[in-house]
Amino acid sequence: MGKSSRTLAIAAAVSAAAFTAAADPAIIYDLGGKFDKSFNESAFRGAETWKEKSGGEYREIELQSQAQREQAIRRLAEAGNNPVVMTGFAFAAALSSVAPEFPDTKFAIIDMVVDEPNVRSVVFKEHEGSFLVGLVAGLTTESNVVGFVGGMDIPLIRRFACGYVQGVKAANADIRIIQNMTGNEPSAWNDPVKGAELTRAQIAEGADIVYHAAGGTGVGVLQAAADAGILGIGVDANQNHLHPGSVLTSMLKRVDLAVEEAFSGGGDLQTGIVVLGLAEDGVGYALDENNASLISAEMKSTVDDYRSKIMSGEIAVHDYTMDDSCPQS
């Protein structure tokens, strides 16, 4: 054994030690960006909460392009980060190819199921939360026309739309719902200009409440709604504060909880599929001082009534992704 190879072995041992020491959790944000005021920002809040509570450190990567997905996951796993959390369905393909390469690393993916032994897949029952905000919209609308603006046209977003439609129809079956999607590419998550234009078109058709499930694009939706003096409905994070009095409510999707839990699990993270719905407080609707004047006590009790019925299973909200269709439109 030459001297140089011994040095190499020592170097390898040292770096291995360095890796194990750096077993911090890590998170990768999707293309909408860490500060999309919605999905990714919610994940960021979860990571920050974990940091505050545990006093630990974490690493993060903000994707800049589609091509970086595999590279980002691999880099964090190679650096010894554990678990590696990624926010967004679009990571599924990349994760299924990278996860088997790092059997000792735990991964967590939000919004998609990846069937690998070391992956925790967190999915939400967005249709249940969307049902509740749809119900609020249905009880509030005066024009009997409400709108929906989705981000990228994918089954997940159709699930939001379908739950929303069912909620609106539960309030009043005669209400018309205008549904639009922003686009077919990931750029549709970050196009507020188009979101605003879609919203204006819906307002022109008579909509007086517009719900968005469009990440960063939704900033434009809520802005256009507030400018036109109608009501918007936020998504993922509580967006009521963006335009106080002009945001009817927000469909809460506790991505922050999912991230915090995954981080707390550390290297012993429970893998498998985790489904978060109303019963688990994974989804819900936002009520705070910004929209208190918009939601009457009567409305609140109706919505809470539906909420408990959905939780008990008395009312089943149809999930679009089960059969790729929606019973109502």
Binding site: F35, E62, D153, N180, M181, N190, E197, A201
Partner: protein, 322 residues
């Protein structure tokens, strides 16, 4: 489709066309003077960022616009220096400006506001608000004609009207003034201009600065008039669509206006009619509607434009003979 829908689509068309008109006219001035400019996108983006950032910090949309236009003109001067003084490749310089603007706006934005490259949402005096024309409500009550006035013409932000006026003004400058004649000559035959005792470089610099000014207005419109705040890469290819419109318009201001309005109209239609039921055929899929503007662009460019001949000296640095 009823009349009200038509008005709404045309209304949306004006909003969507305005940035294209600014960028297209900007390209027109630059290319007529013999400087190819594919950096329109980057200049608009820089202006969009500084307009929104300064407006957010000072609370004044005018201060924002001034800074945005200034930033755009600095980049234009940079492009001018690279392609006129240093006789570099104009395409490469343009590409560099696009990359530079895309990266720097995100970087500065992140350091400035800590919001991941976006600026805070603008409100009140820090953005351009829609201008209601006098008597809009009274005249709006008149059937048909009234809604054209009150909904289509009235209620846009200031810069939309500036964009619509910029086209005839550009035509006048280029085709009715001595400066315009010289500017066009420098793009066709710089030797002749030089022989006539005029500075080729001076004229070309002036053209690129006008290009910067117009791109700056387009960018300011995007972030403070159309949207309320800057987000990363918010120009989303508008500079390139404007270049397509420029070729389509054969480098003429009047045609440029119509080309941009057409592109705006196609986009407005795609946004408005995401699903059209055609009897017998079924529903036209969303994907097709969204691809329609681009498909039509290809068809129009390939079939109806005829030969588009660029200015003869375009893209070539001028070297004075000794």
């Amino acid at each position: 489709m009823d009349f009200a829908t038509l008005i709404q689509i045309l209304d949306s068309m004006l909003r969507l066309s305005a940035p294209l008109i600014f960028a297209c006219l900007a390209g027109l001035f630059s290319e007529r003077a013999g400087i190819f400019d594919i950096g329109l996108e980057g200049k608009m983006l820089a202006s969009a960022f500084f307009s929104a950032a300064v407006a957010a910090s000072t609370g004044s949309v005018w201060a924002g616009m001034a800074c945005g236009v200034f930033a755009s003109m600095v980049l234009a001067a940079l492009h001018g220096a690279a392609s006129i003084t240093f006789r570099g490749n104009q395409l490469i310089s343009g590409v560099a400006i696009n990359f530079f603007a895309s990266g720097m706006t995100a970087l500065i934005g992140q350091n400035w506001f800590k919001l991941g490259g976006r600026t805070p949402s603008l409100s009140g005096d820090s953005r351009f608000l829609p201008l209601e024309w006098p008597l809009a409500e009274t005249i709006g009550a008149i059937p048909l004609v009234g809604s054209v006035y009150s909904e289509l013409l009235s209620g846009h932000t200031l810069l939309v009207y500036v964009a619509l006026l910029a086209a005839p003004v550009s035509w006048w400058v280029l085709f009715r003034t001595r400066f315009g004649l010289r500017l066009r000559a420098v793009g066709e035959n710089p030797e002749a201009v030089d022989t006539g005792g005029l500075s080729v470089a001076g004229l070309r610099y002036r053209a690129t600065l006008i290009c910067g000014l117009l791109c700056g207005l387009g960018g300011a419109y995007l972030s403070t008039g159309f949207a309320a705040g800057f987000i990363r890469d918010m120009t989303a290819g508008k500079g390139f669509i404007a270049l397509a419109a420029l070729i389509f318009a054969k480098w003429r201001p009047g045609y440029a206006l119509f080309a941009c309005l057409l592109f705006g109209l196609l986009e407005a239609i795609a946004i408005r009619f995401q699903s059209i039921e055609i009897s017998g055929v079924g529903t036209v899929p969303l994907q097709l509607m969204q691809a329609l503007p681009y498909i039509l662009t290809v068809i129009i460019l390939a079939g109806f434009v005829g030969r588009a001949i660029p200015p003869r000296a375009g893209g070539e640095p001028y070297i004075k003979e000794r």
